[in-house]
Symmetry: C2
Amino acid sequence: MTATIIDIAKKAGVSVSTVSRVLNNKPDVSKETQERIRATIKDLDYSPNKVARNLVLKRSNVIGFIASDITNASFPELARGVVVKAKEYGYSVMFFDAHKDSRVEKEAIGLLRSKQVDGIILSFNEANRDELLKLRDENFPVVQIYRKSSESMISTIAIDNVANGYLGTKYLLDAGHTRIGHITTGDLTQSGYERKLGYLKALTEANIDIDENLIVEGVSSVEAGRECMERLLELKSRPTALFASHDVLAIGAYDAILDRGLSIPGDISVVGHDNIEIAKMIRPRLTTIDTFKYILGQASVDLLIEEMAVESHQCKELVYPGELVVRDSVRIL
Amino acid sequence: MTATIIDIAKKAGVSVSTVSRVLNNKPDVSKETQERIRATIKDLDYSPNKVARNLVLKRSNVIGFIASDITNASFPELARGVVVKAKEYGYSVMFFDAHKDSRVEKEAIGLLRSKQVDGIILSFNEANRDELLKLRDENFPVVQIYRKSSESMISTIAIDNVANGYLGTKYLLDAGHTRIGHITTGDLTQSGYERKLGYLKALTEANIDIDENLIVEGVSSVEAGRECMERLLELKSRPTALFASHDVLAIGAYDAILDRGLSIPGDISVVGHDNIEIAKMIRPRLTTIDTFKYILGQASVDLLIEEMAVESHQCKELVYPGELVVRDSVRIL
DNA sequence: TTGTAGGCGTTATCAA
DNA sequence: TTGATAACGCCTACAA
């Protein structure tokens, strides 16, 4: 039986309201009683029951965080940003993994709400537009990460995929490459789609004809990257450079290239996207685009806090540009 | 204003207890009223306030999970195991990152408890023995992951580090290597210390004299691995093989070896430990020891649930053996 | 089969 | 400066 506010009130010879006052640092309580109460609190090792407090306050000081896939390489940094920032604001985070399953995601939303979380951060979600609209209608604080959604009217922290796709491709172009392959998750994911747009834009701008054969599509995995690259290598006129829409794809591409006895960047230059931890560990170290995941995680809770403070549902959209991290996988011609 | 049990009681023309009964699938409620109530629940999109429920039930159906470092490469799989298994039991998980700071860890424990979590899983913690003892004394369910603690009397899920160290070294021995270096976190971490014990045991068993010069110590990071390997490479009689106590160390060692123009496994064979995701992506693919992190995460929840069910604090200790994953980084002599 | 009422541990309003 | 007391939303004897 852990102590309650009543226990300490009795022991200190005061009423519960007085105890509650010192607990919440309210004014109007004499120095002496204050000290006496503080002492007995320490004495009984008492700590207020947050559940009871939440019930009356109607707020829990916890925010929900739903990752669409916890094994995503970008997750750890992102999560750390969320947790760190939440703590700064005095919030704890309750955590769910949706396994990329939108049904699970929906369940998580319901559970989180029934647990009275004060707001929800969704990352990487692929669907559930209806759920989101419902939340919005109820004026419930939510922010999405990584998914622009001007149409869905939910506050969002996103990265500028088009600009990043452009950035990566442009770098290759500037290095003198003209035959640049692109491995992409394509229309399978919004991010892939957008990065491809950037890739196309850079080529078009450089007056290079788009060769559809140079664009191969696969899911976001090492294996897919490998397969895609193999297809590229079989082309009669193979590319001298590659822009992969995700680092994992680039890593798969490495395998295919190196297994053919080709060299990176000697024969083929590679630029990735995401700057996952592995990028700087593989050889040659991968030139890629950093997306500041830790910062994004933090920004998402900033935005959520803002959302919670404001009366009516706003709909801010913060788009973060990426930054090219030059390492050793591109050959300057 | 979201609906409460009273709202639906009124609307359905029954008392709150009856509603509560159907909410909790209790018997003794007629088919008709049951249906009527279910209907209005659906109608008002009602979902019980878990905070209120927790207050009376004195249980929250959430378990706390404190990672000592969320950026640890083993974390994602472990966390997934925890989250998945917890969900199976109907539990949610509230999540903290201690940044390896035992003060933060202590805070997290306090916070989690004040939030009335039903149990706590601690992973990778380095210190806070006092906190743990306090929890044990209060009969509060806790399980530690990765840290054997026979002395601390807390239930634990651990991996058999000594056996694993032996396993990795023995494999190198069986491959014909006799001059085997060891990069270790040494006495800095319990896991490193134990794996080193395994390394020593294997050598001793093979009647190979221990050469202290072959054992270098550093923190668990790629950079440290690199530096340690450099020292090994400067030896007049350099090793032909290496057992690294952590994959990240092995990856750093790769850098040092390859930068010298040496080949893996041609000149130097490498065995790691952990089987982090990167291990199969680097080249040559790293032979290492898998520790079944996903399973461990799940097992920790199983154990915690067991702990919660039992009256008195038990103190089970489950030790999981690792498994060698043979890939391409070892040369058979 | 259903309803009444007390209690879970806090906070907050209103008196004293 | 302090103390009763009514919420908060739910569950659970106990009664009816």
